[in-house]
Symmetry: C2
Subunit: 759 residues, 2 copies
């Protein structure tokens, strides 16, 4: 753990300058608006260690795959999220000396992310290297949630003596990715122009040919009077507006930089520059304060539905809000071409593409905190990529429309290139099917099955049906050579979770077919023809697989075996591991990890989490008691599932321990990797920990159940959920649980086993 | 198969020019002398597709590892064999036109590798692009086996009309590897000087700092009179001697190029240039013809001991000699720092480093065809690298002197970086122990155990003892997460072969301890102290493992299961695979290969080959009948083991089919990969096929057994073996088998079950 930030209900605060954690802070204080995002880099020049990063949704580059030993089936490229136009730059010279907190003496420094209003604020006092004078700065910025083409910065400078001030406000498209396989540059630098009123740059990505433009208007006010730029400069990748003024001791020069940042994802290339200029104009004409206000209003609407309040535990409160804040600024659900990258807009690691995290962890969050359209976009994203999933399966030898969704993708094509993951971590297909079920369960919108759900389910069912084989020796269907959610096992046979979700997919698809035949017979017939679906023949095989799927078990117990042969391992619990061996993924060679019993993240327990209602409590308990002691939780996605199950089993201490791990993972930088970017997708797991874990929130047969518990460290907590057009608030304290219907028709819910009518 | 070469008992012949196979021919016609080797590139300029390659034994570069996803334990570099000084170059200009068979019209062309004399010869007639004239060329060259610092070329030119001839004889150290991870250059170009009498270049490798020097003397004779060079030029990497003359129609200008090529492996850097010059001088003063003669004499000695004669099947005869020829020019056994790279001096693939091929396939060849010192060098190579093997094991978490020999190495450090191979294909350790046993069995030299054998065995035994774990569930010792010789299975549990050889290593080490205590008690005590060997405690565990090692079996049969769960696969024999699916390693994705039943190379059968005397014939037969039908033989190391077992079982047709596959693998380019270099290590398997397969040669309890069979396509065959200082010739024809003692004391052998005294 690295603790250098202050706890606060609504704010993340770095109260003195920590250059040693600058990269981490840049991640943690990142801001975004679903369309683009920006690491918390300084506006002024900074020569210390840092990672400048500005990212635009959906803009990627197919970086040529790097691999030591090629295997048949590997993809040719990996879609990388692209570091793009630097739009925050303000170069500041005071009496000819460049402001740079790496070389100036920092007398006072505070960086605050106000999660309530979405404002990033930094104030500092710094003395020039000569010691002759100091300046005070207040810098504020937003990526507007109210107008997502816009960003704006307010930057005020107050000197300790009368100084000559030069401020260059600039845009720069000549940027590089930190994450490249071959040190290539990814941008064609197209154009830039600067005038005193307005400036822009335009660039396009190599190969993928996305075009991006940023335009800006820069202003300066001193003593209420506007100061005009005196120069404008540009090259093919750079545009600047320059101010020069004499600023008297104690006077404040206040700069505003209004930016429009647009991509060809949403605008005709021909209009791009003009639209960017319009956006910058829009922002400038409102002024920074107004922009901040509108942005805060947009945030207040988000908080209205999605906030979780925890009393009596400020760290827990800050942690959960931090997670909710980042999820909302990463993905807004307005565009079915977008998804939730594992680092969002906060870093480049993992390529910024789509993983099964979206379906398994993020979807429940959006289902319960946003209108159903948002979740539907996530489903449509996969539907739109069905063709590619079929192609992907064909590359691996599958036929007849079997679909394997990729492990990592941007466009639907597989990007990843580790055989044990790319080709074998196929349970992801199950999560994508489950998401459809989950969506229907929460929204009641069965029509979606007819609309696009069945198409995806059919491809997935066909995949499983071909992926299993009959074992003469076991007299059952087996699934050989897979990697389960626990990636500390590779190429195993009969991973229980994968077999279970495969079987479930087949069952659920059969159920959907019955529904379609009943409710949408014409559509169904069309789809049968479209996909050449031989219903009788194909479903017969599915039914046979459902009946005869093999599942490894621990004899004499209710424990499902993670995979064949699991009990051959040395069963030494994590508690007996020496500190020097932790985390094992940094200390042990890969083979040692693989043959050990240690579990990276919920695997069998992931199945018990998803299908909790299929099992009695005793079964869940026996499995939890068996597996959790072997679990090292070295994936950010691990603790949350364990909170939910531990809470279900009444393991309060374990649930709370796991909760802290998930909720403050990045704030306290548990794994010393916040510098690479934040764990955006696992943040949804934190929300899940409170709502499904402590709140015990489940939807069963169309009825909402709450089985609440309160960690002893908390006085009370409350959260909101949306369900079939209704909004509810759940309030839990030590003595009681209340559910209030805030909006919508009356409904009954079950609170701690008690049916209660809400109106 | 690609058949463009002529069959011949002693020669490999390309009787017309095949530019489309130039890279393959360059590999196939390669020559070497154990110290260096040279692909069959043309001396004159050639602008067509080709791969210029000159390699010097032991000279390598640590190429930075390339990998997509780093795993703990991966090595930082891969030792690459280095393309080094181009010493063959002769640039020829005729009336100002550069001779280049890519642009000239080739009227006649013949390339011949005379394996008996070790001479590479090329003769051609070619017409200039203008069509005005033609020339005839005869080019001959050797890498001298008689004086392994020397190489020499004779190159004669006869024009069809009187021409102005310019010939530039040059050395060039500015060469690049085709096989580099990051397109780096590997050489520091140090120095070059040229005079009319003599010229040299000197270069050193980056990082490893090996220094290499080549010196040359160039001569020309026309009508018996010497023609002197008229110019000498040099840069830092290039040195040339230039001839200019008018050559009359039908007259022949005969050039000789005498080269000394030396490395700092064998010479002080200070003396390197001088010694190279001396070597060139030595060769030049003898002249090319004398050099060729001495070289042929050296080869005749090799053939005297190592030849195999096959009557009635010229392709089989050519095939076996081709294999024996290349093995001998790759490794001579004079230097314990050298080993047998998978491509020898014929290409760059696989890095030219040491694999388990050496112990498993090459050692039997050298044991039976060379004085025992040669095989001992191969054992000493591993002994010298024991410290590194212990370090290597420590990196993977092993302790107390456990040794894991690397999968691929040059210096003893692991180079490979695929976790499933590097960390898991650990059976290689067994082959290294078995080689000690094999050496002792063949030479009777038990002293070697006291000398260095025990040191290696102890490290290996300690490794196995730590690598297994007790399985409560199986009540036996298991070995989890390994890759057997069949690399089409990764990360499996209880690979039968690995478990078996591990158990054998422990048993053999115990046996060696008994011998040492009895025969070398002082040495043994010293070694116990040196290695902190707690005999009682450690050997007790070994004995327990030997007693309780778990082996997977097919119930109700004598079939040993390749690994746990093997019978869960779809057991469809190779014969039912569609042609479009073959070879599966090019047609199927890796996961599909892994979960299929198909076997790349002998795995369980490899164990039955090595430990044939542990099993009855019925057991061998049942296993062969079970596994061979699933074997795709997609490794060059597969067919030979199957020949030996098939011959043992009387499966004559199968044995012959497999024999053809191994013996003419490169000559007929079965896998379309000869262009990358030849399969040097598998060539020893071809020898094994005849001697151990058809010849049925075994040594059991110090007695030689021959259980011969003769393929119906052959009239007769004979081979020679060396055994404990004796030389024998085995002659087999359809009616009888004779063994003649050629040299050494009388001895008894068993021929087809009949004990026979030889004197």
């Amino acid at each position: 753990m690295i603790k250098y930030l202050d706890a606060n209900d609504w704010k993340v605060i770095e109260s003195s300058f920590h250059p040693e954690y600058q990269r981490s802070s840049e991640s943690i204080f990142s801001i975004g608006n679903g369309q683009f995002g920006q690491r918390a880099n300084f506006e002024e020049h900074y020569s210390g260690d840092h990672h400048q990063g500005s990212y635009v949704a959906g803009i990627y580059y197919p970086d040529k795959t790097k691999v030591g030993w090629w295997k048949n089936g590997y993809p040719e490229y990996f879609a990388k999220v692209l570091n793009s136009i630097n739009w925050i730059g303000l170069s500041v010279k005071v009496d000819g000396v460049e402001l740079d907190l790496h070389t100036w003496k920092v007398d006072r420094f505070e960086r605050v992310l106000d999660m309530k209003s979405g404002l990033l604020q930094r104030s500092f006092k710094a003395t020039a290297p000569s010691g002759d004078f100091s300046i005070e700065v207040l810098a504020q910025r937003i990526c507007s949630m109210a107008d997502d083409d816009c960003a704006c910065i307010q930057y005020s400078i107050t000197p300790s003596k009368t100084v000559q001030l030069e401020v260059v406000s600039y845009l720069d498209s000549d940027v590089e990715n930190q994450d490249t396989n071959w040190d290539e540059k990814f941008w064609n630098l197209l154009d830039a122009e600067a005038e005193l009123e307005s400036a822009y740059v335009k660039a396009s990505t190599k190969k993928t040919n996305f075009t991006l433009s940023a335009a800006m208007e820069s202003k300066c006010t001193v003593k209420g009077a506007e100061v005009w730029p005196v120069a404008a400069n540009s090259s093919n990748s750079y545009a600047s507006q320059e101010f020069r003024l004499v600023l008297e001791e104690g006077e404040t020069a206040s700069f505003e930089k209004h930016v429009g940042l647009l991509s060809s994802m949403n605008h005709d290339v021909a209009d791009l520059v003009k639209n960017a200029q319009d956006a910058a104009r829009r922002s400038a004409s409102k002024g920074a304060q107004k922009m901040f206000e509108e942005h805060a209003v947009a945030w207040s609407k988000i908080w209205e539905n999605g906030d979780i309040i925890i009393d009596g535990d400020v760290e827990a409160q800050q942690g959960i809000r931090f997670n909710i804040f980042h999820l909302n600024q990463t993905y807004t659900g307005e565009d079915a071409r977008l998804n939730i990258g594992p680092k969002g807009f906060t870093g480049e690691k993992y390529g910024g593409s789509t993983y099964w995290d979206t379906e398994a962890y993020c979807l429940p969050f959006y289902l319960s905190t946003h209108p159903e359209e948002v979740s539907k976009q996530l489903l449509k994203y996969r539907f739109k990529q069905l063709d590619k999933a079929i192609e992907n399966a064909e590359k691996l030898g599958f036929v007849n429309g079997a679909a394997l969704y990729p492990m990592v993708t941007m466009t639907g094509e597989e990007c990843h290139n580790e055989w044990e993951i790319t080709f074998e971590e196929i349970h992801r297909n199950g999560a994508i099917a489950f998401a459809i079920h989950n969506y229907v369960r929460f929204t009641g919108n069965k029509e979606y099955i007819a609309e696009s759900g069945f198409d995806v389910l059919l491809g997935i069912a066909r995949f499983w049906s071909q992926r299993v084989n009959w074992s003469e020796s076991k007299q059952g269907y087996v699934m050989l050579g897979v990697t389960g959610p626990n990636e500390y096992e590779n190429n195993v046979n009969n991973n229980w979770y994968t077999n279970y979700i495969a079987k479930w997919c087949l069952s659920y698809t059969l159920k959907c077919i019955l529904y379609l035949k009943d409710a949408h017979s014409v559509v169904y017939q069309q789809k049968c023809a479209q996909y050449r679906f031989k219903e009788e023949e194909e479903t017969q095989r599915w039914a046979d697989i459902i009946e005869k799927m093999y599942f490894p078990k621990k004899e004499g117990s209710k424990v499902f075996l993670q995979q064949d042969g699991f009990l051959d391992k040395e069963l030494i619990p994590v508690s007996e591991l020496a500190d020097k061996d932790r985390p094992i993924n940094q200390k042990w060679s890969w083979d040692r990890i693989l043959r050990s019993v240690y579990i990276k993240q919920a695997d069998t327990l992931q199945g018990l989490y998803l299908f909790e209602d299929h099992f009695d409590v005793e079964t869940i308990k026996e499995n939890f008691d068996f597996y959790e002691p072997f679990t090292v939780h070295e994936s950010s996605l691990s603790p949350c599932v364990h909170v939910v199950l531990a809470a279900r089993l009444g393991y309060e201490e374990k649930a709370y321990e796991m909760y802290l791990r998930t909720s403050r993972l990045d704030l306290d930088d548990y794994n010393h990797e916040a510098y690479q970017g934040l764990h955006i997708t696992s943040m949804a797991g934190t929300w899940m920990s409170v709502v499904e874990g402590f709140g015990g929130y489940r939807v069963k047969d169309g009825v909402q159940h709450f089985n609440t518990m309160i960690p002893k460290h908390w006085e009370a907590y409350s959260f909101k959920v949306m369900f079939k057009g209704r909004k509810m608030q759940v309030e839990v304290n030590a003595s009681e649980t209340k559910v209030l219907l805030l909006e919508g028709d009356p409904i009954s819910v079950v609170i701690n086993g008690q049916e209660t009518a809400l109106s």
